[in-house]
């Protein structure tokens, strides 16, 4: 059940200090280079929590690290028979209760998507699960969407209706507080003295902020239209080819994307008889992603490099899971120096459609 409270802004730091004693605390922190990144906080008085800028990173690396050891392996040789034994020793990550503070709606929705990929398929990914268990999310709605945001078009923001433990809305000198999942309810009860019950005025202020936010998006993005166009099976081959030619094979879009979960598994030898089996982020835009031993590649990198990425997010996941796996965070727009971001693709496909409609 959703219950509503108010947290005065000057109560925020004291609350976080309290939480920091019991949990690992992760929040968007502005560093001296001017980057705002989700960062583990060791001393709240020595960092600047930044709720003004969009965090450049999502929470993905906390649950699905860019490089992770899955297991160690070793070889033992039997000198008499000459035979070799080959054994694996799993390396499970530690599982630390963590509060993620200042999470935006798009990133929370992305966590729910990656939960589904790693935990709710027929196979259960124990590495992801260890990172993900014991996580508490304190999200914050976006009163003012950032410049490349289009979560309104992907229905993943700017405010959440579910998924959070606690959702904050900035209503001037205070935060409006909604408790969602059980851990949020429990957390609010445990530190009840930081909160007060919301009044009708507070509710009205929250409603006003949430409504106004919807009108503040810079970008008009036709996500649903493009999903419908792609579902018609008239493939926009020319657009795929044009954007594929501009892709520089850097993988930045996939790395920065909160819902890109593709990975590779490879071995790193430590010496002749020992090594680590690693899982590393991968990207379907890389030429080697689908290339098989022997050299055959079912994807033509020159013309189709970006095809799977856009079809997966805008069509295949709609077919499989009922919604796009693009959460509208817009990070890939700033990341891609070739302009091969999902917004560009959506714009090209929808413009193409409009031109067709105009031609008699």
């Amino acid at each position: 059940m959703l219950e509503n409270f108010v947290l005065e802004k000057d109560h925020l730091l004291p609350l976080l200090r309290k939480l920091g004693r019991q949990y690992r605390l992760v929040a968007p922190v502005r560093n001296r280079h001017g980057d705002t990144l989700f960062t583990e906080i060791h001393d709240l008085d020595r960092v600047e929590i930044d709720l003004e800028h969009q965090p450049q990173s999502s929470l993905k690396p906390f649950f699905f690290p860019q490089v992770e050891v899955l297991s160690m392996y070793g070889l033992d040789h039997d000198t008499s028979s000459g035979a070799t034994w080959y054994s694996f020793y799993p390396q499970l990550p530690e599982n630390r209760p963590t509060v993620y503070f200042g999470v935006r709606s798009c990133d929370m929705m992305a966590v729910m998507y990656t939960d589904m990929i790693f935990l709710q398929s027929s196979e259960y990914d124990v590495y992801y699960a260890r990172h993900r268990e014991n996580a508490i999310f304190i999200t914050i709605g976006c009163n003012q969407p950032f410049s490349n945001c289009f979560c309104n078009a992907t229905r993943s923001g700017p405010f959440l209706e579910h998924g959070f433990d606690i959702q904050l809305t900035d209503i001037g000198d205070r935060f409006f507080v909604e408790t969602g999942r059980a851990r949020g309810v429990q957390l609010r009860r445990q530190w009840a003295y930081f909160f007060r019950d919301a009044t009708e005025d507070d509710r009205r202020a929250q409603f006003q902020a949430a409504l106004e936010a919807r009108g503040l998006f810079n970008r008009l993005v036709h996500v649903d239209l493009v999903t419908r166009i792609l579902a018609r099976q008239e493939e926009p081959e020319a657009i795929f080819a044009e954007l594929s030619a501009r892709c520089q094979d850097c993988g930045g879009c996939a790395y920065i994307c909160p819902t890109c979960t593709c990975f590779t598994i490879h071995d790193q030898a430590l010496d002749e008889d020992r090594g680590e089996r690693l899982r590393t982020w991968d990207a379907c835009t890389f030429s080697g992603f689908t290339r098989m031993a022997g050299g055959h590649n079912p994807v033509d990198p020159d013309r189709q490099r970006v095809r799977k990425r856009f079809l997966h997010k805008l069509l295949h996941d709609v077919e499989h899971h009922g919604r796009t796996s693009c959460m509208g965070c817009g990070r890939c727009v700033d990341m891609c120096f070739g302009g091969v971001d999902i917004l560009r693709f959506i714009e090209m496909v929808s413009e193409n459609e409009t031109e067709h409609e105009e031609t008699p």
Partner: protein, 295 residues
């Protein structure tokens, strides 16, 4: 919609839907020992394997068409299809063509060596659905390996299946795999027709593409099913020809090959349009494939 709160279960949450049983580590290979090594030709070798742990051996079962993820030291993993039938006890066989680093390392294995395996994975051939039908197998090169598992399964359950015909094509006579099996199958009443693209002095048999062998077989749409495996381009032409011969799409089956990393539908590598081949395949009926031009 799956991100609907009523269907969404956060990990580690208590409650009837939320409680997760303790589960194994899907990425952890199990040691298996090489018991036999059979060289099929210069590039292809069959390994008969058995788990180190006798309990695992006892409990392990698989179905024709499934595959294992094989680990070799310092080489990572690769998916390899079973080439032996299930239910015979005494381990399982994998047949491997030397193509990259991992498969080259496998070709240096000797009996007694240990490799890592996990699986079985993937959707198998629908052996129950195929019961009662006559079966036409069409294989190219090492594509015979997964079909060998099916053919031997059918011979182990001979009364369940009708006539069995195998059309086998290889690039040259030196590329032929399972020569002993071809003879054994012929003796067991399987009609085996072989062809090579390029003959040499040792070859007195047919020369030409495997599709040409289709002229020599009569298949009835109702009672026959076809199972095809080989290079993508061969699969495309054979399936097209079988359609022309009147077999309906849902009577045609193939098994596809892709680069894979996890084998369980997470890593994303083995996509074919919206499908993941490791989980939804590798066996497909043609009714499930829209386009076979780029397999």
């Amino acid at each position: 919609m799956i991100l609907d709160p009523s269907r969404y279960v956060a990990p580690g949450m208590a409650g009837p839907q939320g409680s997760k049983p303790v589960r194994g580590n899907i990425y952890l290979p199990v040691p298996a020992q090489v018991r036999e090594v059979h060289r099929e030709n210069d590039l292809v070798t069959t390994f008969v394997l058995e788990f180190d742990d006798p309990l695992v051996n006892q409990e392990f079962s698989f179905e024709p068409g499934q595959f294992m993820m094989v680990s070799m030291p310092h080489c990572g993993e690769a998916p390899i299809s079973f080439s032996s039938p299930p239910g015979r006890g005494g381990g399982f066989a994998l047949t491997v063509r030397r193509a990259g680093r991992l498969t080259s390392a496998m070709h240096r294995l000797r009996p007694g060596d240990t490799i890592g395996v996990r699986g079985p994975y993937g959707r198998p051939f629908p052996m129950t659905e195929l019961a009662g039908s006559s079966l036409l197998f069409v294989a190219g090169g090492i594509g015979l390996a997964p079909l060998r598992s099916v053919i031997d399964f059918c011979l182990d359950h001979r009364s369940d299946y009708g006539e069995i015909t195998l059309l086998y094509g290889c690039r040259t006579p030196a590329d032929i795999c399972f020569a002993d099996d071809l003879e054994r199958w012929s003796r067991a009443g399987v009609r085996c027709l072989c062809t090579v693209d390029e003959a040499d002095d040792s070859w007195s048999g047919r020369v030409g593409l495997v599709t040409e062998l289709l002229q020599d077989v009569q298949v009835e749409a109702d009672s026959w099913r076809a199972l095809v495996c080989g290079p993508g381009i061969m699969i495309h032409f054979v399936l097209s020809r079988l359609l022309e011969m009147g077999l309906p799409r849902d009577h045609l089956f193939t098994t596809l090959e892709r680069h894979m990393k996890c084998g369980v539908g997470i890593c994303g590598h083995c996509f074919l349009e919206e499908k993941l081949i490791c989980r939804e395949g590798p066996v497909f009926s043609l009714a499930e494939l829209d386009d076979t031009r780029n397999l």
